[in-house]
Symmetry: C2
Subunit: 344 residues, 2 copies
């Protein structure tokens, strides 16, 4: 008993049908599909086999069959085909592409928003980060006495701000001089190297400034990609749309999980820099997401993958459609960023 051609065809039909209807599919509806010239009894036998093989599950004795995670995995690997986008969808997405000239933050939020609106699922977009990030500019802006705002700009086109203490005797002039010095000397250096070099090369000059230099370096390093670990999220409430979460308690847990941006970030990160990748149900390794799948696509600046975007939906999502949308959006975002940030 193995997966012969007929079993594959039946399995595929079941997955397609279940994705469409959301209800367990029985042998009868399949036998009515004119492309099968089989009776419901035959199909029942095959379905029993498929269940033994772990591809199908039965919610209860007298219900139809539901695909297992294993079945979805097989489906996305071998059976799925991308579906075409509708005109409406293309319209929304290309409108989004035109609306440039904004901060990176806004672009990311907008991307997530479009993704979730089109798919009706929850969208996650990781801020671009790369180990090859380079320094563009550093500015220390004096605030109250003893405090300064550190603004770091990298070639990822993002300003990140945080506040550090500075020795009281350092005035605006000196902070400005220092900003200029660092900006010039380390222009275009990789962020991962800047810290070390600063410690070595500026340590002498600043040795009587207490912990100022170490603080500054630490601040710069905790923002290695200038946006490390940040994600944009949109459409979390769409989760409530699908029936698996009609139980209010589970819904709450789910939303709470989604609100933890750290762990969402990890999920995206774990997906790796692949063009398209799938995590199905149990593969996500989190109980609360056992009925969900995460489909991700990485986006590139030039040819270097710098981030990942993804969609979380029910395991029975229309993968073909979602893949098409992600493909389109990741390329759009990539080209927007590339245009904006590429070395001249």
């Amino acid at each position: 008993m193995d997966l012969n051609h007929r079993k594959l065809r039946i399995l595929r039909a079941i997955v397609d049908e279940y994705i469409l209807s959301g209800a367990p599919v029985g042998s009868k509806v399949l036998s009515q599909n004119p492309s099968f010239k089989l009776s419901s009894a035959t199909i029942r036998n095959e379905m029993a086999d498929l269940e033994d093989l772990g591809y199908l599950e039965q919610p209860h004795t007298s219900a139809g069959r539901v695909p297992s995670d294993k079945a979805y995995r097989l489906y996305v690997n071998n059976m799925m085909q991308r579906s075409n986008l509708t005109e409406d969808e293309i319209k929304v997405m290309s409108a989004y592409c035109q609306s440039r000239v904004k901060g990176l933050d806004a672009v990311m939020r907008e991307t997530a928003s479009v993704l979730s609106r089109i798919t009706h699922y929850t969208a996650l977009v990781m801020m671009p980060e790369s180990t090859t990030n380079r320094l563009r500019h550093l500015q220390l802006v004096p605030l109250a006495e003893g405090y300064a705002l550190v603004v770091v700009v990298t070639d990822a086109g993002v300003a990140r701000d945080s506040v550090i203490r500075v020795p009281a005797e350092m005035g605006a002039d000196e902070l400005d001089r220092l900003s200029r010095l660092i900006s010039q000397r380390y222009y275009n250096c990789r962020m991962i190297e800047v810290g070390d070099r600063m410690m070595k090369e500026l340590g002498g000059e600043l040795q009587d400034r207490g912990t100022f230099l170490t603080d500054l370096v630490e601040t710069m390093e905790t923002a290695p990609g200038a946006n490390a670990h940040r994600i944009a999220l949109s459409g979390a409430n769409n989760m409530l749309d699908f029936p698996a979460y009609s139980d209010i308690d589970r819904a709450r847990q789910l939303l709470a999980a989604v609100e933890k941006k750290d762990s969402m970030y990890q999920m995206l990160k774990n997906a790796g820099p692949f063009e398209i990748s799938f995590r199905i149900g149990s593969e996500l390794g989190q109980d609360i997401f056992s009925d969900c799948s995460l489909v991700t696509a990485s986006y590139r600046i030039g040819s270097i993958p710098v981030g990942t975007m993804g969609v979380i939906g029910p395991t029975r999502m229309p993968y073909g459609k979602v893949v098409s949308v992600l493909d389109y959006m990741s390329k759009s975002l990539g080209s927007i960023l590339t245009n904006l940030l590429e070395e001249d």
Copy 2:
């Protein structure tokens, strides 16, 4: 038939009880309260009166009474008293106060997070904004040819970044020169004036740069408070905790409404710069929030109100507790910001 002393006492007891239990309160439980030396029948009569006056409502004939919005309004105006904070709550809040030295963004998010964790409701915190915001620093960082990142820093301690086009012939040097010029010349100018002055004073020098100057000014002005219209939000999923939203459909609508940050911003804004203000149920003017109240508190930098924070919860929230928490948090945030940003 007017609101004599006894009616007020009864009404107050009903509100207190209902806030505690969440179930319609009947005449019997009140008559068992030893502080009333009245039979349930007497109380029933009074309750009927209170219903006629619009302070109570009956979900159905044989249920107890539930306070109306009008009753809550009376309650918060005249009857409510602040409740003391528990040691745990104070511990959480003071821990939060100690964790300084972060970007403003992080402080705001943290504030919202603490608020929602303590109250178990949804917390909103408006970014500080003020018509008296002053420019600290402007930096134009060259990106790809023809693009530059604009970083605006105001005395609200925030960097805001967005991208604009620049004439191709303007090199890094010139952008830097211009940044320095603007930063110096307009240092400490009110943001609302900077735009006009720049147009007048720099128009000549930059007249052959196409729309560059207008673009720059517009960018700076759309960030008048450097953070205009931005809010931090936390604990939206707490909404699902309360029974009024156990209906999954309503829950979805609610979450969708909360996710619209614009309208949430407006709600905060409408509350005005009062120390504490309440919006109860229908007073919020949005159907979906008809079972919710918004309690807000403004926070100050020095003595100037620059923003508002608030908590959205069910109309039957423990107002006394929420007011205490908001009071504490708004003062904490105010002092954190004041320390950080006050003129030296």
